[in-house]
Subunit: 302 residues, 3 copies
């Protein structure tokens, strides 16, 4: 059942979206090289500020100026195992909340070692696809009977529903090991599941065109970190995913309108607008989405 | 002479384009940092899937899930010499076909050492500009009297025709050292030459605007790897280059239409659409191109 | 007071813009991973050519083919301290002029060590925001009583005016230690200050939308290096910054025209064009700007 318009969560989400627009918080990222330009532009578009770093001492210096941070293990280099160990230890020592995107969890020993090590300095939010959430819960010994069919590269091999229990277990584990006692897990897919370990919410909407551009998930992780600068883990995860659903729907509608626009017919009959145009429209939509629109997106409690 | 419409090669090319759209194969890349976002988006646009990695154990784990791979030596890091030696050995041990883009071949000792070493574990397809193809043949001791005027950075200093014999020698050498016994070389330029060492084809078309955006060649290499997941080296190289010619022509036509559109005159008189808009339109065109359109592109045997 | 239309500087700026369009000089970059695609596309759009490298021997080999180079310390890796020491020594030994973008100067020990070391092999142009210029002057012991409020990540915490004296001191120091005896510093902000240590100029214009896309400053540094291939440090710095002001204003006007275009109303009422569309329009505008337009931009001597 869709949460009522006056639900306190909706108000907190609207507040988070508004606070990012007015405070422009900088959330530094240690993220993959493929999509980091898109991550930075998405953080800027929603009103935040971006900075990227890949050396522990540098990252710590930037994180000291920030209220939250983002780590994404998409592309690894030999120096990253030590760097990420030091960085996660520093973040947790300074009680700085951070978001993990466990890209391609389960693929390769270096990645497995890095993600396994993070159990000792866990994040505040994990955002991933279903396979990544299931695998991460397994790596951390939070067994719940679920097993992943994946990974199949960076795409999910499992449906969102099958990650519900692992997501809850992860959220509870992180909440227990996080200074604030609060944590959240966001499972992205055709529908999204977001849980703080106690309550679980289901989000609908979001355009399938998002799977046709690289970095949709990575940049959602970055924007989640931006919101984590101004909100609790649950509210930050909900606000970012709802923003993404609202913005991707708006961009998809604008793409349709472009392709059906009579006055543009000579252009679009030759070449329908597709993923290249969609990517630009999506950044436009991230910037255009209002706190009211984001907080009014469909959300139901499981 | 343009190949007849019913030529078996055209049918195989149409099949490859269609198979990528329906099977969505993932072809992992070890590619340069400048253009990797564009490589990934181009692979997605043509219907494939992307994953990037720069550590040997990680790359091997991803490649084990794939039917082909892509290596591009555009930007090197100190760890790459060992990583690429291990990766190319692993690819060839597991008889996995792969595409090499020998970006800026001849420039710098590290690059020369890496490309020279690849003779021991050769790729299945090489795609490069004329200078890169000539230099690579020289590095591998496949001397044919050609000598490059280059390199001049990452741009070709030689014309396509002068790379014809080096391309054939390279293709024959790779075919002899590849488990399948099949290989191909694609020389990109104003016109493209594509050879399997026996037959050589010439492709026309393709917009000169492609030289105004970074990553045209790199992303063509990635898309060639995507097609290599579902087709022979010759068919994959032809299909990818013909797709690029068809799509860049379509994007250039759409750009012209935008600039001549009466209803957009207030926008375009102030600022004609140029390379920024072209980049988005090109991704749109990669996604819009049909198997029929690609396989019908002009192609003649030399 | 706006410089008169026939001022020799305006003629030199027009010449530089034209020479880049006709000679297409390649200016290699050692630059950060976040924005390097945008740097390369900006260099291509203004008529130049791009190449990126992160290993000293490779960079030196590329730089040997070039007339200028660009170094940006935005994202560091462990190998960079040694690489940048060797590269800057090689550039200065071969009397090759180069542009430094001291991104986030003052943040982290590795960055501080790298920037401090560059005093021994100084650049020919420094382009940065006010905080970066003030901090760099302090790192080099060029004390002038100014102190930075920053850094606050990668954004400036100081206004442009407060960097005027540090900029002049930096320019004089570099001029004394540069073979040509000429150097310049460009301080970017709402207005830009550009000085060769003797004369100081103030530029107006430029759209605030440039702060909504990542890489505006980084790519300006790259384009400055492109102009440095064909012009003196002062003329190169002025030409690049004036191009950016002209192009960002043109892109912002085109964005407004798109959003007010009656025939596009169904598209734009659903979703106003924003930062995603602006990024593409800005590259279009870089390519469209003429030597006459750039050299006619507002510029006054302080």
């Amino acid at each position: 059942m869709n949460l009522p318009a006056q639900h306190p969560l909706r108000q907190a989400i609207a507040q988070a979206v508004q606070d990012v627009k007015s405070q422009s918080p900088m959330a530094p990222s240690f993220t993959n090289f493929v999509t980091m330009n898109f991550v930075a532009n998405a953080q800027l578009a929603c009103g935040g500020s971006a900075a990227m770093s890949f050396i522990a001492t540098e990252f710590d210096a930037i994180a000291a100026l920030a209220k939250s941070a983002y780590i994404n293990v998409g592309t690894l280099l030999p120096s990253y195992s030590d760097a990420l160990h030091a960085i996660t230890a520093d973040l947790n020592e300074s009680a700085k909340p951070w978001v993990l995107d466990p890209v391609a969890a389960g693929l390769g020993q270096t990645r497995t070692d890095i993600l396994t090590d993070m159990q000792h300095n866990p994040p505040t939010i994990v955002r991933g696809n279903a396979s990544e959430i299931i695998v991460l819960a397994q790596l951390w010994g939070l067994d719940c009977g679920s097993s992943s069919h994946g990974p199949e590269g960076v795409e999910s091999a499992d449906d969102v529903q099958s990650a519900m229990e692992p997501a809850r277990l992860l959220a509870r584990f992180m909440a227990e090991h996080t200074p604030s006692g609060q944590a959240a897990v966001a499972v992205s897919g055709e529908e999204d599941l977001i849980t703080d370990g106690t309550q679980t919410f289901r989000l609908h909407g979001g355009s399938p065109l998002m799977t046709k551009i690289t970095g949709a998930g990575c940049s959602l992780g970055g924007v989640t970190a931006t919101y984590l600068s101004v909100a609790s883990p649950l509210v930050a995860a909900l606000a970012a995913s709802m923003l993404y659903n609202v913005a991707s729907d708006a961009a998809a509608q604008a793409l349709d309108a472009l392709n059906q626009c009579d006055s543009c017919a000579p252009v679009r009959q030759a070449l329908p607008a597709g993923p290249g145009t969609f990517q630009a429209l999506f950044l436009d939509a991230l910037a255009a989405a209002t706190a009211e629109q984001v907080s009014a997106a469909e959300i139901s409690e499981c």
